[in-house]
Symmetry: C2
């Protein structure tokens, strides 16, 4: 059984990507990050998802990105609420964490090397990517090229692959695909600004995309929202 290292945020996208990796026959190792995010509740969801998908191992790496700052997800900048889909599509929002996917993929790569794995899975999507540069195909290919020269395994001939199976899918497609694969999407968490009990705000970019996704997919949204 080949091993897949899956970046898990406990959200719809990474959970569906993980289910797809399992469906392709990979043994799942999921990795989440406690990086000082204000929506730390996602770590609870990531653990639930790893259990539900029978991950061989679920690891949480502590990485205090607050030292670096510069983003609404780690700083005291307000999370934007009620933006239109047009605004999300064209702006790089303040919720962008500088170089986040570069950092997280680098850590997935480290774990892959330790476990003798070469397959990394991330739930990046270029359709509803909310303007993040590090969710684009060119970024993923550049990372594979880096991995080949960055690691002992790469130098010895291993070929690392960054799988982003959702890259061409919109949120509704992702929700349909996850549902087809039998995941309970009620286990997942998307909100950037939940209340202390994990209840979703309903108005940040992430909640808006999630709500519209369920609507467009014609699947009842299991999420409980504050507003």
């Amino acid at each position: 059984m080949n091993k897949a290292i899956v970046l898990s945020s406990g959200g719809l996208d990474s959970t569906t990507a993980m289910a797809m990796a399992a469906d392709q026959g990979f043994e799942i190792f999921s990795l989440s990050f406690d990086y000082g995010q204000r929506h730390r509740y996602e770590l609870v969801a990531a653990r639930r998802v790893a259990d539900a998908l029978k991950a061989k191992k679920h690891l949480v790496v502590t990485l205090d990105l607050r030292t670096i700052g510069g983003s609404a997800l780690t700083d005291d900048i307000d999370v934007p609420k009620g933006r239109s889909q047009e605004e999300m599509r064209h702006d790089i929002p303040v919720t962008y964490v500088p170089a986040r996917n570069t950092v997280l993929l680098a850590l997935l790569l480290g774990l892959a090397e330790v476990l003798g794995a070469t397959d990394l899975f991330i739930g990046a999507t270029a359709v509803d990517y909310s303007g993040y540069p590090d969710c684009r195909p060119g970024f993923l290919r550049a990372f594979e090229q880096l991995a080949a020269v960055a690691t002992r395994a790469g130098v010895e001939g291993a070929r690392f692959r960054v799988h982003a199976p959702l890259l061409e899918l919109g949120k509704a497609d992702i929700i349909r695909r996850g549902t087809e694969l039998g995941i309970d999407l009620g286990l997942t968490h998307s909100c950037y600004d939940p209340d202390p009990t994990g209840l979703a705000c309903g108005r940040c970019d992430s909640c808006i995309l999630r709500r519209r996704g369920f609507e467009a997919a014609g699947i009842p949204d299991p999420t409980r929202y504050v507003a």
Copy 2:
């Protein structure tokens, strides 16, 4: 004044690289990592060095690489002692931390983006690199290519540069260069396995390279070694 983000381990190499950045007129922002290394004492040295070189800011990011493991610097594997220079040159040692420079450069990149900087400095050296793949020129160029597509600044046209001014220098050259630039190299720390007070073991790869470097440079070694 252009800003330089300098990866600092408090050792000879990163300290000399930092002094070279300062000498080139950059304003210094130094970044160190508390990554569960057994030689955490290097963080004390990194702070001393940042003060001595009048860094504008010195940050320490917590990143618990022990969760990922797989290296003698973070795990319970023994640090190898008394190896020949030949062995160091040809093997990738167990002190290799999987994908470490990829992870650390990614975090430097994040800080650069927050500060509006595009110049990253690391003390990588391909001569006495002790077999680490992520200290090689091909790796550094691949990282620059990644940075261009990984960041908001890159997408908007910024060109990131990874400076590795020691790449062609051996340890003796680095010690000479650092001394010429007026740094007190007694402030630096190299040992992978110091005693609790920070005293160097004298026998790990890093101590051996340091001792021979001072000898070869014909400069008195200010370091106090246990053995």
